[in-house]
Symmetry: C2
Subunit: 323 residues, 2 copies
Amino acid sequence: MEYNEFEIISKFFKNHQKKDKNQIKGIGDDSALIKIPKNNLLAISTDTLVEGKHFLKNITPKDLAYKSVAVNLSDLAAMGAKPTWITLSITMPKSDSVWLKSFSKSFFKILNKYKLNLIGGDTNSGPLSITLSIYGLIEGKNALLRGNAKNGDLIYITGNLGESAAGLSLLQKKTFLKNVKICNYLIKKHLKPIPRISEGIALRNIANAAIDISDGLISDLGHILKNSKCGADINLNTIPISKILTDNFKIDEYLNWALNSGEDYELCFTISKKNIKKLNVAIKKKIIKCTCIGYITSAEKGLNLIQNQKKIIFKKSGFNHFI
Amino acid sequence: MEYNEFEIISKFFKNHQKKDKNQIKGIGDDSALIKIPKNNLLAISTDTLVEGKHFLKNITPKDLAYKSVAVNLSDLAAMGAKPTWITLSITMPKSDSVWLKSFSKSFFKILNKYKLNLIGGDTNSGPLSITLSIYGLIEGKNALLRGNAKNGDLIYITGNLGESAAGLSLLQKKTFLKNVKICNYLIKKHLKPIPRISEGIALRNIANAAIDISDGLISDLGHILKNSKCGADINLNTIPISKILTDNFKIDEYLNWALNSGEDYELCFTISKKNIKKLNVAIKKKIIKCTCIGYITSAEKGLNLIQNQKKIIFKKSGFNHFI
C-alpha cells in the first residue's frame, strides 16, 4: 500500500513517543518548539546519507534507520553532549508501507535507547536519501571542541579502528573470508556502529579536544591539528587494532583501514598529562575503554607517523564524497 | 574546477558572516553550539527540496538558493518566530565552482537580509537536493500554533493567492501569455516568494492560529481546522486574487490556483473578534496587508466554500509529493 506524506507522518512517525517536558510542540505544526533548560548550551549537528555513497543500495530499512541515527549521535558524542531531540527528512522513491514499517520500527528503537525525541521532519519522493538534524544539551560551558588540543597533550582512541572498513570491504565483495561468524561480526561493525555517547559525556571534564572518526584517523585527527594549530606524533604500533583483523588480514590492509577508512565512529581525543589520573579512574570504572596512540606537538612539526621507531611516509587521504 | 567537501565548505560557506553573540561554535566542529537567550523558545523547522518535485530541473543556482531559504523562513513566519540560525545540507551531482559561487552568493544575500547565521551543514554528491533546518526565537510563550483557532474567529489571508501557481504554470509551459512583463512578474512570484516574517511576529499578539500556504489554501486551512477541532465557512468572493490574474485568466483557472495550488507562502490566520482593532492598527501601520475570507465554525459543520451566497462543491486536494 502507498501513502501520501501526511499519512506517512501520522502512521509511521507521529505519537510514537512521550513528549518530554522541554518539548512544547513536536511534529504537526509549522515548526517544533523547544525550551532549553537554564545553563545549558544546545549542540546541533546535521548529516545527510545518500544511497550509493553512505550506504549500499541493498541496505535493509532496519540497518539504514539504525546507522543514520548512530552516525548523527556520534557527532554529539564528540562534543560531549547529551542527546535530546532529532528531526528526520526522508526522501524515498515510493512510499512503500513494508519498507516504512521496518524503517520506523528500527528508527524509534535507537531513538528510545538514547532518549532522543523526534520533533519534526519532512517526507519527499525522490532518490533515497536521509537528512537528520540532531540536538544535544551540554550543561555548563565545557564542550569538547576540535580546536582545544595543546602541545604536549596525549592522544587517545576509544575502542578499535578498521573493523568497519573491513566489514564494508566484505559487503562490497572486495575482500573474502571463509569464516562466516567473523564475516558477520565485521559486517555488523560496519552496519551498527556504537556512538560513544557516555564516553563523550565523561570526557567533557577530562579531555581538551575530541572528534569522532567518521572519515578516517588521519583525516579526522587532521581536523584537530588544523583547528588547534598543532602537530602530532602517532606511534603506529599502538593503534588499537583487534585480533580479528590482525589474525585474518595483511598488515598493509588493516593499517590502511585503520588510518584512512572511516566509519568506525570511535572518538579521538587529547588530554593534558595532569588529567591522566582522572582518565584512569574512568577507565577503571569501565566508563571508557581507550588507547594512547601518541602526543600533540607544535604546528611546524606537522603530523608524523612512527612505526618501529622510524618515521614512515603515508598518503593523507580521508573519505571524500566528491572523489 | 571541482572541489572536495572540505574545500567547498571553506571556499563557499565559511567565514562569510559575523558570529552573533549567542553562537558559541558555528561551522567547523562536530556540531554547532548555541546559547538560547532567557525567556525565549526555540522554533525549529526543516524542509527538503528535491529536483523535479520542488524545483524545476533548469532552475538557476541563484533562484534555488533564494527559494530554499524563503520556504523555510515561511515556516518560522507562521509561528511568529524571529529567524536566527540555519544549517544547509546540499547534495549535488558534482562540485561545480561556477554553480557553487552563484548559489552561495544568493544564499548569503537572503541570509543577511533576514539576519540568519549559517551554523553548520553537510555537502554530498548525488542527485540535486537541499535540506535546510532553520531556527528562530520566540520571546515569551506566545507562538502562533495551528491548533488554537476558536469557533467564531475570523479567517484572514496576507497578500494574494494563486500568482505563484500561475508562474509555475508559465514556467512549465502549461499556460501561455503574450505579455512578457506580466509573464516575468508571475514567474518571479513563483521563484521569489516573500516569507511573511514581520507579519508573523506582529501577529503573535493578535492572532489565535496561523499556518503558511505552502500546499494550497484548502489543504493548509485544513490543518488549522483539524488541529483546532473546528470547521470553517469561506466566502470565495473574498479570496484575495490580484487583478493580474483576474484580467488574464479564466475564473476556474485562477480559483483553482488560489485554492488548490501551493507555494504562495502567504499566512492564513484566525483572530478572535475582540482583536480586530489591534489588527486594524497593524494594517494602518502597514505592518500587514490582509483580507478576511471567512470565519471559524464548529467541527461538525466542516469546511464550506460559499460563492455568490451558495455553497459549492469542491475537490479537496493540496499538493501531495507522492502523487
